[in-house]
């Protein structure tokens, strides 16, 4: 039997904080309707939310491309912003380049990337200075291994 899969596409507007998080909350709703294990939904929703917010705040907006099949969800958050200078440093808890303004809005604790690492089953970040960043998150719906 051919396995079905779903492809979803969302735009992530730059600097629009009112709409930031819309894509991940739509995906969350979809996973609930598919009857995915709530613990897995949480993993996918939080890691996608963090990547989405980063694209809004640091990446100048971009796109989310999401593929869902019976076993897993693959989330790609793509922006053509400034890229991440030092990825290793950025992955550390508490590291942030967020401005005071952003911090006043409740972001910029430097926890986004560490949270992605914690919740995603697989995390891949391709980034190039001046070109942009592609974050790929995979969350499996069933216990692996």
């Amino acid at each position: 039997m051919a396995k079905s899969r779903m492809d979803l596409h969302y735009e992530i507007p730059a600097d629009d904080f009112a709409r930031a998080g819309e894509a991940s909350s739509s995906v969350k709703k979809i996973l609930v309707q598919l009857g995915i294990d709530p613990v897995r939904i949480k993993k996918a929703a939080i890691s996608m939310y963090e990547a989405e917010i980063n694209a809004v705040i640091h990446g100048g907006g971009g796109n989310a491309e999401v593929t869902i099949d019976a076993d897993k969800i693959v989330i790609r958050i793509i922006d053509s912003g400034p890229g991440i200078e030092d990825l290793e440093l950025a992955m550390q808890e508490g590291y942030t380049t967020a401005t005071d303004e952003i911090r006043e809005m409740g972001f910029g604790a430097g926890m986004g990337l560490p949270n992605m690492k914690r919740y995603a089953d697989e995390l891949d970040i391709q980034t190039e200075k001046g070109k942009g960043t592609v974050v790929t998150i995979v969350v499996y719906f069933h216990q692996q291994g």
Binding site: M1, S4, Q33, G35, I36, P38, V39, I46, A70
Partner: protein, 434 residues
């Protein structure tokens, strides 16, 4: 009672099909069909929002009539802490409690007393090593059900203790048996409720659990009878035993204060609760040990089956609390020892009511269809189709309980197309005639 008994029901005759309620429902549990509201049973959490919002009073709560007590020889009233401030402040707590004797009861046991035990046990839970935080109060049954249908990841955060109502029922029965020597089968205990949610939790308890309460009588239905007896009630019996911390449970923030941790958060109003729970689920709420969450705005004083305005009631409660505080000289009441029966042993399971299909492949097909239908809808969320939003209509269509033409815009499109087709056909003349 079946799994899906609900106290909240519809009075068909009064419903005008106005769609006010469908938008207010926090679990999208109401649809309007054939001009009448319908409650989707498995989604309803009995929060009472629809009772409050319905301009025609067509949503009602099923509770027991006072005559339910006639089935028992020894009748004990369990007044909710929210009862006292329904009456004018000239009536003290003891007088209100004594009035129960005049309307057919043999004893009263204040639920506020039981609330003190629950507070004490919660305090102990909070100090336990490895306990999952934030702990979320399980006292409001609408909140427990909200978690069951919308926040499954928070099920393990719920306080595993019986609610003050259940604890009061057990303690009152035990006391009657031990102190008065009454046969347990002759004892009936009746909760005097501010809400429908409590009635449901008695008639259809959460999984694997039975209630110790024998009947639920609404504050609203008993109010006038009590009022008529307040003047004559004799106050000689000292029935007001609960301490101020138990009384405060009636108000939002009261349980949190009684539990006494510095890091508690009290949230009231079902829609506010949802925002807070979303934050907890997304790990966005830090440093909170305990969450008191109440479905009603203002806490139980704002319950849909109370009579007094919630803000008036709040100000009155303060007086009852101050009086009790004075008696206790501001100190916490010393509690008698209590036993294991306060621990909640029932199972709370996730109810995936939003799932489209148990087979994921099928669910994906339906979801695809849903997205397609949704993208063709106007996105106005007008409610004229009887569903709370365009997305909900799309969902209903794939579930097979609604049609695309339920949307008046879609219907109009169809009619326009048909008209165009008719015109086209009309212009055609049969070949024999041309």
């Amino acid at each position: 009672m079946g799994e899906y008994f609900h106290s909240v029901t519809l009075d068909e005759a009064k419903c005008k099909g106005c769609t006010n309620c469908i938008k207010r429902c926090p679990t999208e549990a109401i649809r309007v069909r054939h001009g009448k509201a319908r409650i989707i049973n498995e989604r309803c959490i009995d929060c009472g929002e629809c009772i409050r919002i319905c301009p025609y009073h067509a949503k009602k709560a099923i509770t027991d009539d006072l005559s339910v007590i006639n089935g028992y020889k020894y009748r004990i009233a369990l007044p909710a802490p929210s009862l006292y401030s329904q009456f004018k402040p000239v009536y003290g707590r003891n007088r209100i409690l004594n009035a129960f004797f005049r309307i057919g009861f043999d004893d009263v046991y204040e639920v506020a007393r039981a609330a003190e035990y629950v507070s004490d046990a919660t305090r102990k839970l909070l100090s336990e090593e490895g306990i999952r935080k934030p702990l979320i109060s399980s006292a409001c049954p609408a909140i427990v059900r909200l978690i069951q249908v919308r926040f499954p990841n928070l099920i393990d955060n719920l306080v595993r203790l019986e609610s003050p109502m259940e604890v009061a029922a057990k303690m009152a029965k035990k006391k009657a048996v031990e102190k008065k020597g009454i046969d347990p089968s002759d004892i009936g205990v009746f909760f005097i409720t501010p809400c429908a949610a409590k009635a449901t939790s008695v008639k259809a308890p959460y999984e694997n659990k039975t209630s110790s309460v024998d009947g639920v009588i609404s504050i609203k239905s008993i109010y006038l009878k009590l009022l008529a007896n307040l003047e004559k009630a004799d106050e000689s019996k000292q029935l007001a035993k609960a301490g101020f911390e138990g009384l405060r449970w009636a108000n939002s923030g009261g349980e949190g204060l009684a539990v006494g941790t510095d890091n508690f958060l009290a949230v009231d109003g079902i829609h506010n609760v949802i925002s807070i729970f979303e934050a907890v689920e997304n790990d966005k709420l830090e440093g909170i040990d305990f969450i008191e969450a109440l479905a009603c705005t203002g806490g139980c004083l704002g319950g849909p089956l109370t009579v007094e305005n919630v803000y008036v009631a709040k100000s009155r409660l303060k007086q009852h609390v101050e009086e009790a505080k004075a008696v206790q000289k501001g100190r916490r009441r010393k509690l008698e020892p209590y036993d294991e029966s306060i621990v909640w042993t029932g199972e709370i399971v996730y109810k995936p009511v939003l799932k489209l299909d148990t087979d994921i492949e099928k669910a994906m097909k339906k979801l695809e269809a849903l997205e397609k239908i949704y993208s063709g809808l106007p996105g106005l969320d007008c409610g004229a189709c009887g569903a709370p939003s365009c997305r909900a209509l799309a969902e209903d269509i794939v579930r097979g309980i609604a049609y695309e033409t339920d949307c008046i815009f879609k219907l109009r499109e169809k009619v326009r197309d048909l008209a165009a087709q008719m015109k086209e056909l009309e212009e055609k003349t049969p070949p024999t005639m041309s």
